[in-house]
Amino acid sequence: MRGKLAAYLGRLVRRNRIRADGGEVNATRDSGLVSDEFTSSLPYWLPPFVVMGLAVYGAILWNFFLSLTDSSGFGAPDYANLDFEMYARAFADPVFIGALRNTFALLVAFTVLCLVVGLVVAVLVDQGIRYENTFRTIYLLPMALSFVVTAQFWLWMYNQQNGLVNIILGVVGLGPYEWIGNPSLVLGAVVFALIWQFSGYAMVVYLAGLRAIPTEQFEAARVDGATTLRMYWRVIIPQLKGATISASVVLMVFALKAFDFLYSLTGSYYPPKGSDILATMMVRQAFVANNRAYAAAIGIMLFALALVVVAPYLLYQYRAGEL
């Protein structure tokens, strides 16, 4: 697998170097210039690489070893005695299982719905409308806001007494509901708020994808007699695979980081009942309960979750020559 990947990346490097006149053989450079170019490139990428490498990979490694200890309370962790006890503990812990379930539910519901809303809005914006820039800017605005800010707005929107959501539902005779206080409603409410914040992002990505499709294809489909709906369904949407993949990866990563939003709903490490996810549980275990090793194990599992999503994506991007 590793050899294959290396060979693949090697091919990729060379493909990028094929010259304008088409067939010129231009494979990797051999020794002389390589070492020269390598040496002179060091001052540029090595310092950022060391800083980033220590901060990201060094810390993950440290965290991993910490997760193998039994460290809790204020004592120094004992690195001599390593085992996977904390991982076993997690899967026996109903709080962890609940948080894991909520994490998945949030991840899937948020990502899928965000993509759907983003795609629909992108198609609408792509109809050659006037003031396109203004519409686009407005739709993307929530994304520029902090989770902390949007949490405040939605707390008020979901308020039981005078929240706008309940007022609107009241018009059709529903509610009022206790959106944040009701454990069976809160996750849905959170997902809805997050869709409000990030569907604009999905729209921007889809819009770029739509713009990359040559106009001739829209015209050809029309000449072939396809209706607008069928044209999108059969000709355009299949070509948005790349946009879908990159948008969903970024959205999933946002969802994994939803800690800030949930924290701000209550202003504490205890999110509303029914909305605890791994991200909030980890921080709580680490900095409230002082179960460092346990928290580290949850952090590593979150990392593994991100890896499962991101690794295939990076590979896909390489294959498409995007990176």
Binding site: S41, L42, V148, D260
Partner: protein, 289 residues
């Protein structure tokens, strides 16, 4: 089918299209509008939340209180976000230059490590990070030797953390940009006698100005908006960036507190909203890369 039919069909469709687009504008702006109206009402429960206050019900008390409560945080956030943003953009541009324009074997795996760094959930590095600044390099103690308060040290640690974790995304943004540079232009410079260093200084950096705008704006927003690092590395107190006090604002006051909460949300979001309104296109470019 006659021409009139088609054109009336078209105009009906176009009307429907714009109606939907405007409804979407309402959807995306309503929480903000509601918040704005609530922030200037004396009694937030008096009328429907999206209605402006009656002339007698108008107040600026929520805004005054929010500004008072958040002023320190705003200053801290500026001290935090500006250097962190500039440093990560600069380091990202350097890394991208060394890994893109300068072309050598095996740079792709290195680049992959950079890019994977974008997607790391911070929970996976949070404990080591806080331990690092607490015991390995205890900045809050170190600044004591030069007569500064501990929270200044915390803030420095927070700045450097944001720099480190901002490098991957900045590298990717610049990488995408540099990849499209004309390779022959760099070769021409080399034949013209330029060294690696002068190529960076005299060709790459001047040509990077638009990408610096994109990266700075995107990264500024990210750092400004962060809560998790701020909470863990600085916590509430003198050095806290604005997101920390905002998350606590009015929480003890239940419904009555929403006036100050909404005003606070706007106060804290103002810099990012201004940046967004002025440079929305660059922000869009940053997120879509």
């Amino acid at each position: 089918m006659t021409d009139t039919n088609t054109s009336s069909g078209r105009s009906w469709r176009s009307t429907a299209l714009y109606a939907v687009l405007v409804l979407l504008v309402v959807f995306y702006l309503l929480p903000l509008w509601t918040g704005l109206m609530t922030s200037i009402k004396a009694d937030v429960l008096a009328t429907a939340p999206f209605l402006p206050p009656a002339p007698a019900g108008f107040t600026n008390i929520h805004w005054t209180r929010a500004i008072n409560a958040l002023a320190g945080g705003l200053v801290n956030s500026l001290i935090l976000a500006i250097p962190a943003t500039i440093l990560s953009a600069l380091l990202g541009s350097m890394a991208a230059y060394g890994l893109t324009t300068l072309d050598w074997r095996h740079q792709v795996p290195i680049l992959m490590l950079f890019i994977a760094g974008i997607f790391i959930p911070y929970q996976a590095v949070l404990i080591p990070l806080s331990k690092f600044w607490a015991s390995v390099v205890p900045v809050s103690d170190l600044v004591g030797y030069v007569g500064l308060a501990g929270w200044v040290g915390d803030l420095i640690g927070l700045i450097l953390s944001h720099v480190a974790y901002g490098i991957p995304i900045c590298t990717l943004l610049f990488r995408t940009y540099y990849k499209d540079f004309n390779g022959e232009m760099i070769e021409a410079a080399r034949i013209d006698g330029a060294t690696t260093h002068t190529i960076y200084r005299r060709i790459i950096l001047p040509l990077s100005v638009p990408m610096f705008a994109v990266t700075l704006i995107y990264q500024f927003t990210q750092v400004w908006n962060d809560l998790l690092f701020a909470l863990v590395l600085v916590g509430p107190g003198a050095g806290a960036p604005v997101t920390v006090p905002l998350s606590q604002l009015g929480a003890s006051l239940s419904e009555v507190g929403f006036g100050i909460r909404m005003a606070g949300a706007f106060v804290a979001a103002l810099p990012t909203i201004i940046v967004y309104v002025l440079f929305g296109d660059q922000f869009a470019e940053g997120v879509s890369t």
